[in-house]
Amino acid sequence: MNIINFTPLSALTGGLLIGFAVFLFFIFNGRLAGVSSVASDSFLKSTNRIDNLLFLLGLIIGPILYSLSGNEIESVLTNSLPLIIIGGLLVGVGTKIANGCTSGHGVCGVSRFSIRSIVATISFILTGVVTVLIFGV
């Protein structure tokens, strides 16, 4: 194992901001900001629909503000079309069935010391690692 491209400072800064965003959503709206739930509820449920759509809009505005402040964003998606489709389907189906993703289980759930969320987080990291091991980066 070699360690490469490690950016602990920007990762920690981004993480602190994400935690703060989740905290704001919690104290103002009383809800946990799990992105998969917000996203799937935005079209499957009518409750809080506008709130959910505005949160998603915010997610899209975030990177735009970041690049407007003069920073460059690196984002490379190299997969073939079939892989993108299969990946999208698996992420959608999986987070819906598990009721959460990296933010809902990984950040909110782990912060609450929920055993259910800790098990989910370990599960998706594990299968993610195995998938990369098999298919490569």
Partner: protein
């Protein structure tokens, strides 16, 4: 007022995802590539988020209600069941194939990349199928 706080939370969340580098699937795949060339950054993102949210949420949960809503909505589901493991495992496979989880995928819409649109579209189709699976389990 919940509309404003939703938008602002989303913007800060998206900004944080961008600073952290998590909007780059290559960075996420680098984290999952533990046995080869490993990029541990994602752990620091999670630690940062938990460091802020965990203590603050425990303090504020004692408040009777949120500022703009009637009550706090926190899942009371503590079951570690087949669906949790199955769903999380499927999610992990998709995550490992592409390097996107839901938040960064939606944030990446701002980069106007057709493949990102396609990923998000099929993620939403996935939500829809997952919802059918959850509500009509006995048909499958």
């Amino acid at each position: 007022m919940t509309k404003l706080s939703s938008l602002i939370s989303g913007i800060i969340f998206g900004f944080g995802l961008t600073i952290s580098g998590m909007v780059n699937p290559q960075k996420v795949l680098g984290f999952l590539n533990i046995f080869d060339a490993w990029d541990p950054s994602l752990i620091f993102v999670m630690i940062g988020a938990i460091l802020i949210f965990s203590p603050l949420h425990f303090i504020f949960k004692r408040k009777s209600r949120p500022f703009f809503a009637q009550s706090f909505i926190i899942s009371s589901n503590n079951d570690i069941d087949k669906n949790l493991i199955l769903g999380a495992s499927l999610f992990g496979i998709g995550w490992g194939l592409v390097g996107f989880c839901p938040g960064p995928a939606i944030s990446a819409i701002s980069f106007s990349n057709t493949n990102v649109y396609l990923f998000v579209l099929f993620m939403f189709i996935g939500f829809f199928l997952g919802n059918i699976f959850q509500t009509k389990k006995h048909f499958i």
